[in-house]
C-alpha cells in the first residue's frame, strides 16, 4: 500500500491545474490516471472535433498557448500534446495506466483501490471529468433493433455510419456539428431540437468566447447566479471551431438540407414522435442570444471603445418553417442510424461514499463535498461559468487547493 496526502483522480486539465496548485503549496500528492495524460481528449472524441474555445483561451496555471495561431481552435491531437507538455513542465506526479476502481472513506481519510494497488490519502480530489458517459434518454429503449444506435463517444466520422439517413437527437455543439458534417456527405440528416443555445462564432469582429470573457460572463460565480441548477444544466453553445471561424446555427443547417424537427418525445414501433414546441425553443434561443449581444454592446458603449470594433448587428431569427414534422417513420424515410447527442454525465461508479443526490449527482458547494477531505473539479458551473472549460480549471483549482490546505491544517490541529 502506498500513502500520500492527496490523491487526484484524473490527469486532464482540471487534475493538472490542481496538481500545480498543490505543488505550489508543497502538498504531497499523486494523480491517478486510468490511461495517459489527457486520456478522454485522446480517445473519446470524434475525428473532426476542435476545441470550441480559441487557442489563447486555454490558459492554465503557469502555462499558456505560445504557438502561431492564438485565434485558432486546437484539434484533439493538439489538445493532447498541449496538456502532456503542461504535465511535463509541471513535473506532475502522474501514475498512468492506473484505474481507480473503488474509493471508501476511512477514519483518517480515503482508501483508494486501483488496478495497480492500494493508496491511502487524507484528501481526495475528483478530477475525472464531466463527460465520461453519454446520457441517453430512457425512450431510446424503444428504438427498433434494425436501426443503428450511436452516442458521440462511439461516433468517429460519417464514413463509418451505415448507409442511409441519420436522425441526430439534440442540438447542442455536438448535435449541430455532427449534423453539419454528416449532411455534407450527401446523407439526409434530421435534427431533433429541444432547448439549445444559439450564438454567433464571431461578433463585432471578435470571437464570442473573447466577448464572454471580457464582459465577465465566464467569471460569474456560482453563488451570484440567479438559478444555479438551470445554469449547471444548460446545453453547450452551438459552436464549432474551424479555421474559417464559421458560425453554426439551425438556419444554416436548414439551408444545407438538414431537416429541423422538435424534441423527441416518443419512440415506438419504428416511429418517432416530436414535440410541437419547436417554435418556442427557437424563440427562446434567439431571445437569449440577443440578450448576450445586448450585454456586449452595452459593455462596448460603457468602455468608450466603440471605434475599436465592428458595428453592432442582429442576426435573422431562427426560421424553422411552419410545418415541422411531428412524427417520423424510420423505414419509410430511409433513416438507418440514430445518434444520441443528448449530453454527457460523469462516471462515479468507483466512488463508494454517500455523497449523491437522487439523480446520482455529487452534492457539493462550489466543489467542496459535504464529507471532510473530498473535493470535485471540472463540472459545469462548479464555481464559475468557466468551470468546465480548460480556461476555468486554474481559478477553481486555486480556490479549492486553498480550501483543501486549510482543511488539512484544521484536521492536523
Amino acid at each position: 500500500m502506498k500513502v500520500t496526502t492527496t490523491v487526484i483522480v484524473g490527469a486532464g486539465h482540471s487534475g493538472l491545474a490542481m496538481s500545480r496548485h498543490l505543488a505550489d503549496r508543497s502538498i504531497d500528492h499523486v494523480l491517478l490516471e486510468r490511461g495517459e495524460v489527457a486520456n478522454s481528449w485522446a480517445t473519446e472524441r470524434w475525428d473532426s472535433l476542435r476545441l470550441l474555445t480559441p487557442n489563447w483561451q486555454s490558459r492554465l496555471p503557469g502555462f499558456a498557448y505560445d504557438g502561431r495561431d492564438p485565434d485558432g481552435y486546437m484539434q484533439m491531437s493538439e489538445v493532447v500534446g498541449y496538456l502532456r507538455r503542461y504535465a511535463e513542465l509541471s513535473r506532475a506526479p502522474v501514475q498512468t495506466s492506473t484505474r481507480v476502481v473503488r474509493v471508501v472513506k476511512t477514519d483518517a481519510g480515503y482508501e483508494v483501490t486501483t488496478d495497480q494497488g492500494l493508496w491511502r490519502c487524507k484528501a481526495l480530489v475528483i478530477a475525472s471529468g464531466a463527460c465520461n458517459i453519454a446520457s441517453v434518454p430512457k425512450l431510446a429503449d424503444g428504438l427498433p433493433a434494425s436501426i443503428a444506435s450511436l452516442t458521440p463517444m462511439d461516433y468517429r466520422n460519417p464514413s463509418l455510419l451505415p448507409d442511409g439517413g441519420v436522425m441526430i437527437v439534440g442540438a447542442s455543439a455536438t448535435g449541430v456539428q455532427l449534423a453539419s458534417e454528416i449532411q455534407a456527405t450527401g446523407r439526409q440528416v434530421v435534427l431533433s431540437t429541444g432547448e439549445h443555445v444559439r450564438v454567433p462564432r464571431v461578433y463585432r469582429g471578435r470571437d464570442i468566447k473573447w466577448w464572454m470573457d471580457v464582459i465577465g460572463a465566464m467569471d460569474l460565480r456560482y453563488d451570484e447566479v440567479d438559478d444555479l441548477k438551470r445554469a449547471r444544466n444548460l446545453p453547450s453553445l452551438q459552436l464549432v471551431g474551424t479555421p474559417e471561424r464559421r458560425s453554426i446555427d439551425l438556419n444554416g443547417l436548414r439551408e444545407s438540407g438538414v431537416e429541423i424537427i422538435g424534441r423527441l418525445v416518443g419512440l415506438q414501433g419504428g416511429k418517432a414522435q416530436f414535440s410541437g414546441a419547436l417554435a418556442n425553443q427557437c424563440a427562446l434561443a434567439d431571445l437569449k442570444m440577443n440578450r448576450l449581444l445586448t450585454s456586449i454592446d452595452m459593455w462596448v458603449t460603457e468602455s468608450g471603445q466603440g471605434g475599436s470594433f465592428e458595428a453592432a448587428c442582429r442576426y435573422p431569427p431562427t426560421d424553422i418553417g411552419t410545418n415541422a414534422r411531428l412524427s417520423l417513420e424510420f423505414a419509410g424515410n430511409g433513416i438507418r442510424t440514430v445518434i444520441w447527442a443528448t449530453g454527457y454525465r460523469p462516471d462515479y461508479s468507483w466512488l463508494d461514499v454517500p455523497v449523491f443526490d437522487r439523480k446520482g449527482r455529487i452534492v457539493h458547494d462550489g466543489g467542496v463535498v459535504n464529507v471532510p477531505g473530498l473535493y470535485v473539479l471540472g463540472l459545469p458551473f462548479l464555481r464559475r461559468r468557466k468551470s468546465s472549460f480548460i480556461d476555468g480549471a486554474g481559478d477553481d483549482a486555486a480556490d479549492l487547493a486553498g480550501r483543501l490546505s486549510q482543511d488539512l491544517d484544521r484536521a492536523a490541529a
Binding site: 418525445v265 416518443g266 440577443n290 450585454s295 411552419t322
Partner: protein, 190 residues
C-alpha cells in the same frame, strides 16, 4: 443577464405571490413525493352532445385536497353539428385551457422578473379538418393540425422582455406540454 431585481419585484404587483411559489418549489425539491399530484373531473351526460363536468378536489402534497366549492363546466356542440349549442365545444375548452395556462404563467414570470403588467389578452385559433372526426379520410387526424396563440400585452418592459415572458411561460406551461407532446391515455368501463 436576467431582469430579476429584488427592488423591482417589491414594487410590482401582478397579484402573484412569488415568494410562496418559490417556497413551494424549494419544499417540493426536498420532498418529491409531495409533488405528485392527481387532477380530477367527473362528467355526466345530459342529453345529445350536452354534458356537465364537475371539478372539485384533487390529490397533492401527500393528501386529498378539498376546495371551498366545486365548479361546473358544460360542453355541447354548435347548431351546425345538429346540436343545441348550450355550451362551448370540448375543443374550444381545450383552447381556453391553453390560453389560461399561458396567461397565468405570464403573470407569474412577470412578477418574478419585476415586470408590471397592465393588460394581457390571448387570442387562440386552431385548425381542424373535420374529415378526421367524421371518418371521411383515414389520413386526417381527429385533432388540431395547428394551434396559433397571439398575445397582446401592455407592460412596463421592452418588447424583447415581453417576448421573453411569453416564451418562458410556454416553457413552463402544463397545457402547452399536454398539447405539444403525446400522453398515454387509459380508458376503462364499469
Amino acid at each position: 443577464m436576467t431582469t430579476t431585481n429584488d427592488a423591482n419585484t417589491a414594487k410590482v404587483n401582478n397579484g402573484v405571490n412569488v415568494d410562496a411559489l418559490l417556497g413551494a418549489r424549494e419544499a417540493l425539491e426536498q420532498t418529491p413525493e409531495a409533488a405528485q399530484f392527481k387532477w380530477r373531473a367527473t362528467c355526466d351526460w345530459v342529453n345529445g352532445t350536452h354534458s356537465r363536468s364537475v371539478i372539485g378536489g384533487f390529490f397533492g402534497l401527500g393528501a386529498e385536497q378539498g376546495r371551498d366549492q366545486s365548479f361546473t363546466v358544460e360542453a355541447d356542440h354548435p347548431k351546425q353539428f345538429a346540436a343545441e349549442d348550450l355550451a362551448p365545444t370540448p375543443v374550444e375548452l381545450v383552447l381556453s385551457g391553453l390560453a389560461s395556462c399561458l396567461t397565468g404563467g405570464i403573470a407569474a414570470v412577470a412578477q418574478r422578473r419585476g415586470i408590471q403588467l397592465h393588460s394581457v389578452k390571448a387570442t387562440v385559433e386552431a385548425d381542424m379538418d373535420l374529415q378526421g372526426i367524421l371518418g371521411i379520410d383515414e389520413d386526417v387526424r381527429n385533432g388540431f393540425s395547428a394551434v396559433r396563440v397571439h398575445f397582446d400585452i401592455k407592460a412596463d418592459a421592452s418588447q424583447d422582455d415581453i417576448k421573453a415572458l411569453v416564451a418562458q411561460s410556454q416553457k413552463r406551461s402544463a397545457v402547452f406540454d399536454i398539447i405539444t407532446s403525446p400522453t398515454n391515455v387509459y380508458v376503462t368501463v364499469n
